[in-house]
Structures are given as structure tokens and as C-alpha cells.
Amino acid sequence: MTSDSSNRLLAVIAILVIAAGVAVAHYRQPVPPRAADAAGFQQLVGGLGFGPSVELSTCPVQFDPRLETTCNARTGPIPAGGLLCPGCGRFLFSFSSRSATHLTGPSATRNVLAP
């Protein structure tokens, strides 16, 4: 190719890369009005919604762990049994490994051990 068209290609590449960089810089946080509106909505309902579902679900991974602490579909000792739950099985938004104890807090152990 002539160095002319090669230069043009390099310019196009540079423009695309810069555009992508600017896009990431601009959209790496929610646009401010949206965050403010989301906060307003959460204030109205007292904090509701957490996981990747807009429907109420019996799986805490899904709609909100404040409503459910245990997943009905989790099959205990089976390895990766959580995958059987369409909610946990999505695991596109999985909780960290600390979640089991933190979710229920000390009350979980308490309920078992208390006389």
C-alpha cells in the first residue's frame, strides 16, 4: 500500500482507540443524574433490590438477600449443587465466598446452638 493510505489507516486506528478510551473514561461510572435518581428510589422503598432479577424469587442470589437468606433450590452436599437453581445457576452475579456467614449473621449459629 502507499504510505498515504497506510497513514490514513493509522489515523483511523488512533481515532478509534482514542474514542474507545474516552468512552471508558466517561462511562466507567453511572451518569450522575441516574445515581441520584436511583438513590431517591431506594429511599422511597427503604432499600430493595440487589441481584440480577427484577422478579421476586425464592433465591437470595436473585432479587434481594434481605428477603431470603437461603436458596430453596440449593442441593446441599452435591458439589456445585447451586447450579441446579436457575437463580444461583446463573452465577453471573455470584456472591463472594464470605457470604454464607455474613448473610445470616451471628443469628444463624445462634439459632442452632441456643437452648
Partner: protein
């Protein structure tokens, strides 16, 4: 101009020498990266929304979000809590406010559309509504103010409004319940704006009083929202657990408290890319595996011409390392372009096409064409990963065959 730079320049020109091969490669990489970037963009956006939903943001937000969510516990499961248990908690030192809330599931219409019914005390809703500066940004219409015994007033989510034949503000809908007090016809006083939150989509907001009537279950709340003074939540949580467990009242005897604090919730937030079990790595691995397959197939495009070209270069005195540099520059540039275009396409997909189709895969209950403005964020890490993956894919797709060809005698490569 140094010779290295001259060789690098031929790498960029080489992209134009085999336009079909270059465009197929770029296309293939974009096809691999865009769903990945859109998915990660959604997950990251949702994570930001989750942070807001649990008040992990500014202190100003914390004021109106509770520190503790108290429900009851029966046989290790979370169940509604008797309202009378709110009273002792209210009296605890450091507790500033206790608000009961109902969150339940109902189905609407002939198609049995699932909805999340949320009831907040009437005066609490009014108080909150007046403290929010521009309520119209949140709701098209008004907040519900239905009292006990009145026809329920509802604010419905944008997804529900669309599913139920494009409901309008002011519409009266057929009775959705039959309580002891007879049928009452609910009225829609507002519709949530679609861009404020994904979770409003299937939500129906009404007063606590109406919600209790709709479910016809009185004296119970799904949870108690407990507001505490600064630094007190942990102490109050222990107090709730201790003093209400095994206490003598009839209700409390069968209901043990279950408390979720905001720090509990915060610990649930996925730690982002750093966290190992996450989807991020899974998607990354899948994308990479598919990508290598795709690249292997597409690298067959224009391979004979490429062999010849390398043979010619070799025959006219180019060295193997010079040919490799040329090919590497070409691959890196192709990778860079692919990643940049993929990022821009992903942004367009999220911003202007509202996560069409992909949002439905990542968010349960969201249709192909979402009724919500999907939350998204283009984080720097996935974008960087995309660049890395793209460059790696294109380079691995070409490096080996280029090297093989470059070390065979030119007479053979040129055949």
C-alpha cells in the same frame, strides 16, 4: 527513520494488503468481545445500582436507608415478623426509627404477570416523598396515600405498565384481591420512570395499610427497617438478637429475630474482577476459548496468499525476525482496532439499544426489549482485558503460522 520503525510501518500497511483477511479477523474478534463487554457492562452497572440499593454510597443516602433489616426466623428460614415486636426495638437506646415494610408477590391480569408488591407506611411515604427534591424524576404521577379501608392506590413499575396493556396513570384496574372487607378497585396513581432502577420494573408501591389489606394478612411485616445512631448498629443488632430471642411474649416465642445489617449486605457485593469465583473469569475463559476456535477458522482466510507473501519477502532478503516483527505489529494493530470497535459497539448496544437481548440473559424477568433503562458501566478493567484478549487472540492466531512459513525455504513457501 530507523529500520525497526520502517518494518513496523509495513506491519500497518500489511493490514491493507490483505483486506479480506483483516476484516474477517477484526469481525471475529468483535463478535467474541461485544457480548462479553455488554455482559460485563451490565453486571458492573448492576453492581453500582446494588451499592446504591444498600446505601453503600454517600452518608446523605444513608440517612434515609436503614442500618438494620429485622425479620423473623423459623426453623432457619426467614419469615415475616409480628408488628408487635417493633415496639420493644423502638425503645432500644440508639434506635432512631423503626419502619415496618411489606414485600410480597402477587400476580396480575389474565396473563398472571408477576409483580413485587411493596407497602410502606402512608405517612412515611409522604415524608420521604417531600424530602426528595424532584419526585417527578422518579414517578410519573403521585405517591400512593390510600388509608386503611380505602381503595388501594398504586405506583407501578415501568415493566408492569407495559405488560399490562400499557397502563396509564389514573387507570382503575380490576380487583387484584378479595379481602374480608370485600372487593376494592385499585387505582394507579403513578408509574415509575424507567431509568431510575432496574428493580422498579415489576414493582407495585402502595401504602403499608393497603398492602396489608391486599394480602389480607394483618399484624405482620416482611421486615422492620431499623435506623440507628452512628456507630450503634452492631450493638443494637446484638441487643435485638439477645432480648427478643426466647422472650416471653406469645408472638416472640415462636419467632426468633433474624437481622441483616448494611455491612452484611456490603460484604455480599461481588468484589469485582479481583474476586476469583466470579463470572468475570468464567466469561473471560469462555470468550477466549471460543475466540481461539474462531480465529483458527478465520486464519484460514487468505492463508495461501500470506504464505506466498512471506516467501517473497524471504526470497528478497528479509530476515525471519523482521518478518515476525511485521506480523506482530499487524496483529497488535488489528487487535487494538478490534477491541476499540468492540468497546464502542458495546457502548452503543448498552446506551442506544438498551442492552437489547443480552440484558434479558443477564437479568431475570427482563424482556428482549427491556422496559427498564438497563444500568451499565464501562469499567476500565474489562476494557483493558478486552484489549489484551483481542491482541492475544489475533497474535496467537497468526504468530505460529507466520513463523513456520518464515523458516521454510522461500522456494517452498512461494509455491
Amino acid at each position: 527513520m530507523s529500520s525497526l520503525l520502517s518494518i513496523a510501518r509495513t506491519g500497518s500497511a500489511a493490514i491493507l494488503l490483505s483486506p479480506l483477511r483483516s476484516s474477517v479477523t477484526v469481525m471475529a474478534v468483535i463478535a467474541v468481545l461485544v457480548p462479553y463487554l455488554v455482559g460485563i457492562g451490565l453486571v458492573e452497572g448492576l453492581r453500582q445500582e446494588s451499592r446504591i440499593a444498600i446505601g453503600a454510597g454517600t452518608p446523605a443516602e444513608k440517612e434515609l436507608l436503614p442500618d438494620l433489616y429485622v425479620a423473623a426466623n423459623q426453623f432457619g428460614r426467614r419469615v415475616p415478623i409480628p408488628l408487635e415486636l417493633a415496639e420493644p426495638i423502638r425503645k432500644f437506646d440508639g434506635v432512631t426509627r423503626v419502619i415496618p415494610r411489606i414485600v410480597g408477590r402477587i400476580t396480575l391480569g389474565k396473563e398472571n404477570v408477576e409483580a413485587v408488591l411493596v407497602g410502606m407506611p402512608r405517612e412515611e411515604l409522604q415524608r420521604r416523598g417531600s424530602s426528595i427534591q424532584r419526585l417527578t424524576r422518579l414517578i410519573d404521577g403521585q405517591l400512593p396515600r390510600s388509608q386503611h379501608g380505602e381503595a388501594p392506590q398504586l405506583v407501578i413499575g415501568s415493566g408492569l405498565a407495559r405488560k399490562l396493556d400499557n397502563l396509564q396513570v389514573g387507570t382503575v384496574i380490576p380487583p387484584i384481591f378479595r379481602s374480608g372487607g370485600g372487593e376494592k378497585t385499585p387505582r394507579i396513581t403513578g408509574i415509575f420512570q424507567s431509568e431510575i432502577s432496574p428493580w422498579q420494573s415489576q414493582m407495585i408501591l402502595t401504602t403499608f395499610e393497603s398492602a396489608a389489606e391486599i394480602f389480607d394478612q394483618r399484624g405482620l411485616a416482611t421486615d422492620l427497617l431499623v435506623f440507628c445512631r452512628q456507630g450503634q448498629p452492631e450493638a443494637i443488632r446484638s441487643r435485638i438478637l439477645q432480648s427478643l430471642t426466647g422472650s416471653s411474649t406469645k408472638a416472640a416465642a415462636s419467632h426468633q429475630p433474624s437481622v441483616t445489617s448494611r455491612t452484611d449486605l456490603e460484604s455480599l457485593l461481588p468484589a469485582g474482577l479481583g474476586h476469583r469465583e466470579g463470572v468475570f473469569n468464567l466469561l473471560f475463559v469462555i470468550a477466549f476459548a471460543i475466540g481461539i476456535l474462531v480465529i483458527l477458522v478465520t486464519s484460514g482466510f487468505g492463508r495461501p496468499e500470506r504464505r506466498r507473501e512471506i516467501g517473497i519477502l524471504k526470497a528478497t532478503g528479509w530476515q525471519t525476525d523482521e518478518i515476525l516483527i511485521r506480523s506482530l505489529v499487524e496483529s497488535l494493530l488489528l487487535g487494538l482496532v478490534s477491541a476499540a470497535v468492540a468497546i464502542l459497539v458495546a457502548l452503543a448496544w448498552l446506551k442506544w439499544f438498551n442492552g437489547f437481548w443480552i440484558a434479558g440473559i443477564f437479568l431475570a424477568g427482563v424482556e428482549t426489549q427491556p422496559a427498564i433503562a438497563v444500568p451499565y458501566v464501562l469499567a476500565a478493567q474489562p476494557a483493558g482485558l478486552a484489549v489484551l484478549v483481542a491482541c492475544l487472540l489475533v497474535t496467537t492466531g497468526s504468530a505460529y503460522s507466520t513463523w513456520r512459513t518464515a523458516v521454510t525455504p522461500p522456494a517452498e513457501a512461494m509455491r
